[in-house]
């Protein structure tokens, strides 16, 4: 697989993870130009060789052609037929499978291949058929009747020549044998025999005459032995002539063989005609010897006879081998046709593939790109228009890949920013939920968008208000001042309206510092409103307490100073009137006692004022509230007959930091108030009513406070007195200073807590002290 030509840009590579780049359509080996060129050269070489062989076929022996060449050609033809069948079958099956799978361009490719094969196969098969018929008919016309007659007649003439020569030689042999029949053929007859046979040789009638003497004759074939007696030959015999043939012929004839003639070819091209005749003692009698007469056929007639015979044999052999020889040429032709057919078929399929393959690759690439594999690339396989198309495809895929990476990067950035925004929003929401400042936001249409927990607590709203028009939400009677604040804020876009409003909540006032701000868009349109309010009730209370402390200090200072002179004056007056008449003295005593008593009362009042004004700051320390309550409430056990002090203490209170003495004072104050209220109530109520005071603790983990609840089943507190309940010098009791609950609130406030008063169900009062933990 080659390295892709197109990939992510350098800038993208740094941020985009390395992607697997796939390249489609690697160049197959058969597409190698060198291989194709080699194939063409081999094909042309094979054609040239085949033509050369066919051209030289006339020089080859017919039987060699019909055996070796025909066999080789047949094998080659069968091989090529198998190859052709394989190529056709393979491609037909491939096309069929492609069509069955409905692959892209399968139909087009099948048509293209069919057209190219048709253009190749049909002419080739027609040429093959016609050419075969031509070869077959031509082979039949090789042998015509005139040539046949001429050659047959000529061969007969040549045979006649040989026969005549054989007869001549035979006659000489018979004659010589007859002449020698009177001799005993022993050693003494050698000279005589030589004389008789030499004359014929010397006269040129024969080439040689050999006389053999039979050594043993038992009348059985194969049991005869001969020995040469006389051998006479011309001094210039033919090349390669030997007497072995004569001896064999003599032996055969001596043994009674029928064949008394023999033609022996010589290495020099000539033939030797031999004829043998037996030498008998008397006609039909004992065989004494054998005469073998020989003559070499070396003349022109013999030469031409041999040529005629050769031509006749060649002609006859051609006739015999007519079919194989025609088969050879037919095989040549078939082989050439098959070579062309295979080449054309392969070329047709190759061309079809070359045409459809780039398109298929492009289609496959488009599918891959469509499936999201943007790193898919196609290897260019040519430099033609298809190559340009592939380049364009790869460029497009590269651009798509780059764009996708950019989009991916943008998406990740956006997600990160969204995540950051969401985190920021959650952070702000958490802050908004945690802070004591109430925040209510409204959208551009005036609908409530958000309400934080503090706002819900301060305004008595729940989450159901979100989405409702602010005008409807703040139309509630106790929230009307907020509606006015919003209205003022809406008067001018982008302005803010700050007011301090007092809302009635659960029978008491809640003072809020409200700031309403309208949000504006870049073009000045109202985008919403945010209303922020702080509960300034404790602050106001503290301010009031501070004011009262200042007043108390001034009053104590201003009142206490004249009290002593007043008391002294009164006592002086009483002493002065000790001598006065009793009525007068009684009057003075009464008046001075009253004055002194009231002055004492004023002094104690001023002392309480002073104490309230000089109350020290709480000294916070870790302490157990439940233990403190147990110890404190233990003082009340069994103290009252018809009043019971019960405890309901939370066992899992956390550790707290508070001033135990001051908190004990708070508890005592609240319980004493409850006892006073119950005693007064029990005196007026029916018998049997039992007063119950419940001191309860609970832990509010969400608000991080510990609640100390003192609940009684007394008459309760009228609504009109509740607001003034924690103010100094307000008392519902005839002998109270009115500073008890004021001190309680001050202690609670200085501990960072809060105290509320509410009705008890079904009757009575509930004080709720919240201390931070």
């Amino acid at each position: 697989m080659n390295v892709p030509r197109y990939g992510p840009r350098e800038a993208d590579r740094e941020t985009v993870p390395r992607a697997t780049v796939r390249v489609g359509g690697s160049r197959p080996l058969r597409d190698s130009p060198l291989l194709i060129l080699l194939g063409i050269v081999l094909f042309l070489g094979a054609l040239f060789g085949l033509l050369r062989v066919a051209d030289r076929s006339t020089q080859l022996a017919p039987d060699y052609l019909s055996e070796v060449v025909l066999y080789a050609l047949s094998a080659a033809c069968i091989t090529m037929l198998v190859v052709l069948g394989f190529i056709l079958a393979r491609n037909i099956i491939k096309l069929w499978v492609e069509r069955q799978r409905a692959l892209p361009f399968a139909r087009f490719r099948a048509k293209l291949v069919a057209a190219l094969l048709g253009m190749t196969l049909i002419p080739a098969l027609l040429v093959l058929f016609v050419g075969s018929e031509l070869i077959r008919s031509s082979a039949e016309r090789w042998f015509s009747a005139p040539v046949d007659d001429v050659l047959t007649s000529a061969n007969e003439i040549a045979r006649d020549y040989y026969r005549s020569r054989e007869r001549v030689v035979s006659d000489h042999a018979q004659r010589i044998a007859a002449a020698l029949s009177g001799l005993s053929l022993d050693a003494s007859d050698v000279v005589r025999v030589r004389e008789l046979v030499t004359s014929d040789v010397a006269a040129g009638l024969l080439g040689s005459v050999d006389v053999y003497r039979v050594l043993l004759t038992e009348g059985q074939i194969g049991r005869v032995a001969i020995e040469p007696l006389v051998e006479v030959a011309m001094p210039t015999g033919p090349l390669g002539y030997s007497r072995a043939g004569s001896e064999r012929l003599a032996e055969r004839v001596a043994a009674g063989g029928q064949e008394d003639r023999q033609v022996e070819p010589l290495p020099g091209g000539a033939d030797v005609v031999r004829s043998a005749a037996v030498i008998e003692r008397e006609p039909g009698g004992e065989i004494l010897g054998v005469v073998v007469a020989s003559d070499a056929l070396t003349g022109s007639a013999a030469f031409h006879s041999r040529r005629i015979s050769g031509a006749y044999e060649s002609y006859s052999q051609l006739r015999v081998l007519q079919r194989p020889l025609a088969g050879v040429y037919l095989s040549f032709f078939v082989m050439l046709t098959l070579m062309i057919l295979i080449s054309a078929t392969w070329m047709g399929i190759y061309v079809a593939k070359r045409i459809t393959r780039p398109v298929q690759l492009l289609a496959a690439g488009a599918r891959e790109i469509g499936a999201g594999h943007l790193d898919y690339r196609i290897e260019p396989q040519s430099r033609d228009e298809f190559g340009s198309l592939v380049d364009a495809f790869n460029t497009m895929a590269g651009e798509l890949s780059t764009s996708r990476r950019r989009l991916e990067r943008s998406r990740r950035d956006l997600e990160r920013k969204n995540q950051e925004g969401e985190q920021r929003r959650q952070y702000i929401e958490t802050i908004l939920e945690r802070i004591a400042t109430g925040v209510v936001s409204m959208d551009a249409e005036g609908r409530v968008s958000t309400i934080n927990r503090a706002a819900g607590r301060l305004l008595g709203l729940d989450r159901g208000a979100v989405g409702q028009p602010a005008s409807a939400v703040f139309a509630r009677a106790d929230l009307e001042p907020l509606s006015d604040v919003l209205t003022q804020a809406h008067i001018k876009t982008g302005s803010r309206s700050a007011q301090e409003v007092a809302l009635g909540k659960d029978g008491h006032e809640v003072h809020l510092a409200v700031v309403a701000t309208t949000l504006a868009t870049d073009i000045g349109d109202v985008d919403g409103t945010v209303m922020v309010f702080d509960d300034v009730t404790p602050l106001i209370r503290a301010q009031r307490v501070a004011t009262w402390r200042d007043v108390a200090r001034r009053l104590a200072h201003e009142i206490k100073n004249p009290l002593t002179p007043i008391q002294l004056c009164a006592e002086r007056m009483r002493r002065h009137f000790t001598t006065a008449p009793p009525p007068t003295r009684a009057l003075v005593d009464e008046c001075t006692s009253t004055i002194v008593g009231e002055v004492e009362s004023l002094k104690s009042l001023v002392d309480e004022f002073s104490q309230f004004a000089r109350m020290p700051s709480p000294r916070l320390a870790h302490a157990d509230l439940n233990a403190l309550l147990d110890a404190t409430l233990g003082l009340y056990d069994g103290l009252f007959g018809n009043i019971v002090v019960e405890r309901s203490l939370c066992p899992t209170l956390p550790q707290m930091r508070f001033d135990p003495e001051q908190v004990r004072r708070v508890v005592v104050n609240l319980v004493d108030n409850a006892v006073d209220a119950l005693e007064q109530y029990l005196r007026t109520s029916s018998n049997g009513y039992k007063g119950v005071i419940v001191v309860q603790t609970e832990h509010d983990e969400a608000a991080s406070v510990v609640r100390l609840i003192v609940r009684d089943n007394g008459p309760g507190i009228p609504d009109v007195d509740r607001e003034k309940l924690f103010m100094p010098y307000f008392s519902t009791k005839r002998r109270g200073s009115g500073l008890g609950l004021a001190i309680v609130r001050r202690i609670v406030v200085e501990h960072g807590g809060n105290i509320e008063v509410a009705d008890n169900v079904p009757s009575g009062t509930t004080f709720i002290v919240e201390l931070p933990c």
Partner: protein, 193 residues
């Protein structure tokens, strides 16, 4: 004194074999009917430690062969002889093989036939003949040629001698590389020492 048994070819014959053999015989008959042009008569004789094989395919000297011989072409009859031991359900195991050949060349000028007969490539006999009948016998008939030794034969076992004949030159248009024999024959015998 060794016993001698002469077995003659019974082609086509039924084998004493299970149905598979019958099927093979039928198939052979079909093939023979379609393809076999000539039948070689094969005769075996065991004597003096040798398996003597006699062949006769006289019908193979057809007009085509005669024309081929008369044209002066060197015409050859090649006999591939294979001695094998029969197995019922398994291919026969070859004990030995030999090649006989008879080649004739006719000189139309002097009207003589030069015949050479060879065994395993060695010329055993050369004959110059003028009688065509003699030539035909020389080409198509071999008498008691000792081809195999009986040393490798197991007593009382069944053997067969299969002969395939090829003729050259062939006179076909087309030469099939896997050509079957031009003529064939087979003979079975039980070796009794």
């Amino acid at each position: 004194m060794p016993r001698t048994e002469i077995a003659t070819s019974k082609w086509p014959t039924l084998r004493r074999s299970p149905p598979l053999g019958v099927c093979g015989l039928l198939l052979t008959l079909m093939v023979a009917g379609v393809w076999a042009a000539e039948t070689v008569t094969v005769t075996t004789l065991t004597r003096d430690g040798q398996v003597l094989v006699s062949l006769d395919v006289a019908g193979a000297y057809t007009q085509d062969v005669r024309s081929s011989v008369q044209s002066g072409l060197e015409t050859t009859f090649r006999y591939d002889v294979r001695l094998s031991r029969e197995a019922a359900y398994w291919p026969d195991s070859t004990v030995g093989s030999a090649t006989l050949a008879a080649t004739v060349r006719y000189d139309s000028l002097i009207e003589q036939y030069n015949v050479a007969r060879m065994v395993d490539g060695h010329v055993e006999e050369t004959t110059v003949a003028e009688d065509e009948d003699e030539v035909r016998d020389l080409l198509t008939r071999f008498e008691r040629v000792p081809l195999f030794s009986t040393e490798r034969l197991e007593p009382n076992s069944e053997y067969q001698v299969r002969v395939r004949v090829e003729r050259r030159p062939r006179a076909a248009w087309f030469v099939w590389p896997f050509a079957r024999a031009w003529a064939s024959g087979v003979v079975r015998f039980t070796f009794v020492p």
